[in-house]
């Protein structure tokens, strides 16, 4: 278990994620929440957060009555916020307004500041780290915690992990708190926060719920000072709370990748000139690997998924076709759940609209005969063997063509 990314401000952004399960999640795909959104959810589930005001204009500071000095924090989806100067502690309103103006204009690692979160400065006695992630190896959610939260968690030697077995019982939180070396009322308070964090992780279908740091004030209050939440992509459509949030948060996908996502296609854009379109992740990867092995350069990875019908396949073809770098389209479909005749229908339609496009097609499996009949009229040569198809696509990709994607 590697604990990565030290942060001077104790914030937790994508690269701070320390569980295996979360480290594997695709950063440009899942729904990461802003700090203020995560904290609202914490609060809704009974976890104490500092009083705060979110502002989008410097002059809004005048209406904030939280005392001075204040903490101003950029709300960004990227990591390294503290190091990038995204957190400041102005001592009065005049300084505050000037700093707010600068912070609102700040872009951190390509992520624009969406707003500022304004909070009072807390008197902190100690800081902990607390997270729940779904762990791939354990096959269940786990707690990850450290008695040395916030600053320099990377170098912490006290990272504790604990599986959370089904069905959930709150004693797990107490055992965790004990493992952190806590006792007395602090043990029960931290256990309570841990259990609430698990409950919200479960009820909101999250991949990650992280509090870093979880601070213990001099008055022994336990407060979530910063937090990060990642929502699971597969579960989002049953979470009414997050309805419509994806469009607002998915920022670092390319235009075509976004279109593909909305069409329920898996597209990854690459630099080469052979557009790859297959059904199934493994087959798409294998086809991409073979293109490379035979000297070609993949222009994209596009997995139509299982059971793609004519319409979905046609959308996929159009998306690959729109990539101006693509010179040859290599379509490799092995029909299992996908019927070859549906694919053939899409091909006939696509080629009628784009007769100039160089197509290499390998199509085998369910309803193959029907597909062959449909394509016989089009004059398109079908390759039964994948290796032959890949070699032909690579050869065609080396031919100098004056025609771009949009002829």
């Amino acid at each position: 278990m590697a604990v990565r990314s030290a942060r001077s401000d104790g914030t937790a952004r994508p690269e701070s994620v320390i569980g295996r399960a979360t480290a594997e999640r695709r950063e440009d795909w899942t729904l990461d929440l802003y700090e203020y959104e995560a904290k609202r959810i914490f609060q809704d589930h009974g976890i104490t957060v500092p009083p705060s005001v979110r502002i989008t204009k410097p002059e809004e500071l005048r209406k904030v009555h939280l005392g001075w000095p204040l903490t101003l924090k950029c709300q960004v989806l990227s990591g390294g916020r503290g190091k990038a100067g995204g957190i400041k502690f102005p001592k009065d309103l005049k300084e505050g307004e000037a700093i707010a103006k600068d912070l609102l204009a700040l872009t951190i690692k390509g992520s624009k500041t969406e707003s500022l979160l304004v909070e009072p400065r807390l008197s902190i006695a100690r800081e902990l780290y607390l997270a729940v992630v779904l762990d791939r190896a354990a096959g269940c959610p786990i707690f990850i915690a450290s008695a040395e939260g916030g600053v320099e968690i990377e170098s912490s030697h006290n990272v504790v992990t604990m599986p959370i077995p089904y069905p959930f019982h709150p004693f797990v939180g107490r055992e965790l708190a004990q493992k952190l070396g806590l006792s007395g009322s602090l043990l029960t308070k931290v256990a309570d926060v841990a259990n609430k964090l698990y409950k919200l992780f479960e009820s909101k279908d999250l991949d990650l719920a992280e509090i870093n740091p979880l601070v213990i004030t001099e008055g022994e209050d336990v407060i979530a000072l910063d937090g990060k939440i990642t929502v699971n992509d597969d579960s989002i459509h049953r979470q009414k709370y997050f309805e419509g949030w994806q469009e607002k948060h998915v920022s670092d996908l390319s235009h075509l990748e976004q279109r593909a996502k909305l069409a329920d296609l898996n597209l990854v854009e690459l630099d080469g000139n052979i557009g790859i379109l297959c059904n199934g992740a493994g087959l798409t990867m294998a086809t991409m690997d073979m293109v490379k092995a035979f000297g070609g350069e993949p222009g994209n990875f596009l997995d139509v998924g299982g059971g793609g019908d004519q319409k979905k396949t046609l959308t996929a073809l159009e998306i690959v076709n729109e990539n101006p770098k693509v010179q040859v389209i290599l379509l490799n479909i092995l029909g299992g759940i996908t019927a070859c005749d549906e694919v053939a229908g899409a091909l006939v339609e696509f080629m009628a609209a784009h007769p100039e496009r160089t197509m290499i097609v390998r199509l085998r499996g369910n309803n193959q005969d029907k597909a062959e009949q449909m394509l016989a009229k089009s004059g398109l040569k079908l390759f039964p063997d994948l290796e032959e198809a890949v070699k032909e696509a690579v050869a065609k990709s080396k031919v100098k063509q004056p025609v771009g994607a949009k002829a």
């Binding site: 590697a2 990565r4 690269e15 295996r20 399960a21 480290a23 594997e24 999640r25 695709r26 950063e27 440009d28 795909w29 779904l134 791939r136 190896a137 096959g139 269940c140 959610p141 077995p165 089904y166 479960e202 279908d205 991949d207 699971n232 992509d233 597969d234 579960s235 459509h237 049953r238 898996n266 990854v268 690459l270 297959c278 199934g280 992740a281 493994g282 087959l283 798409t284 990867m285 294998a286 991409m288 690997d289 073979m290 490379k292 092995a293 993949p298 990875f301 997995d303 998924g305 299982g306 059971g307 092995l334 029909g335 299992g336 759940i337 085998r364 499996g365 369910n366 994948l386 290796e387």
Partner: protein
């Protein structure tokens, strides 16, 4: 052969849906002993000449089924899985893609507690060629023989199955364990079954980037598997940080790379093929060595 044969009695949960119905027909045509379907509210009707039941419990009681293949939408998959377990099914084949991973984790825990077996989710199913096809694999690709295959992929399994069959290397059983990070059967359990199966001479393992299941399988093979194993890893040229179709297929923070998996396999004496055709070729070589020995 492992897990399923011509006598395995199978029910289909979600048999009357578009996908369930189409694949139920295919499975029946293949010769799989499909004994009924389950769709709540459709009990008493029939599909492709087979009875439909309202509940799994009733279906199991009336047909003696031990296996259920599940074609229900992702948010209903957990309930369907629990119902199958409670109804007495001992082998669950969960085809559904897009199941929430926390649901999968709950189902996996329940399956373990019951001592049952789960293949999937997000998988193509299982085939013992000539005997039983349970899932969505295209049956015509596979032929009976001595090669045991276990794979995270669907269509890539067909591709490699095709390469094997074309090269005259038939299969004992092919198990598609699925591409999700959390799933039922994992490589080691399936590898052990192939090791114990007299029909299986050579094992093919199809993996992909992301996670460390392949590395763990390599350690397991070195310790427990005497039969030759040929591996193939998809995603050798995948860019880091991008999820390649499967939820689990991502190289992140330098972890889950193809290189790490290839090295682990080679250290365990597993031959790694670079293309599907090369898998078939290496299987042929391994079998020649076996005959000589």
């Amino acid at each position: 052969m492992i897990l399923v044969n011509k006598d395995t009695k199978v029910i289909v949960q979600g048999a009357t849906g578009k996908m369930g119905s189409a694949h139920t027909k295919r499975m029946i045509e293949y010769g799989t002993k499909i004994v009924g379907g389950v769709t709540p509210g459709r009990g008493g009707s029939d599909i492709h000449g087979l009875p439909v039941f309202d509940t799994v419990a009733e279906a199991v009681q009336k047909t003696g089924a031990t296996c259920s293949v599940i074609f229900v939408p992702p948010y209903l998959a957990l309930d369907a899985g629990y119902e199958a377990l409670s109804g007495g099914v001992t082998l669950l084949v969960l085809i559904t893609e897009g199941m929430p991973p926390q649901d999968t984790a709950k189902l996996v825990a329940a399956v373990k507690a019951k001592g049952a077996k789960l293949i999937g989710p997000n998988c193509p199913g299982i085939i013992t060629p000539g005997e039983s096809l349970i899932g969505i694999l295209p049956g015509s690709i596979f032929k009976s023989g001595p090669v045991g295959m276990v794979s995270k992929s669907g269509t890539l399994t067909y591709e490699i199955g095709l390469a094997l069959t074309d090269a005259g290397q038939g299969q004992s059983t092919c198990v598609g364990v699925g591409g999700d990070p959390i799933k039922g059967l994992e490589y080691p359990e399936v590898l052990q079954m192939f090791e114990n199966d007299p029909q299986t001479e050579v094992i093919v393992l199809i993996g992909e980037i992301g996670g460390n299941a392949e590395e763990e399988a390599a350690v397991f093979i070195k310790k427990n598997i005497k039969k030759p194993v040929i591996a193939y890893i998809a995603g050798q040229t995948a860019p880091p940080g991008k999820r390649m179709g499967h939820a689990g297929a991502i190289v992140s923070g330098g972890k889950g790379t193809a290189q790490s998996k290839v090295e682990a396999f080679e250290a365990a004496g597993v031959k790694v093929a670079k293309t599907p055709n090369e898998v078939a070729q290496k299987v042929g070589e391994a079998r020649k060595t076996l005959t000589r020995a």
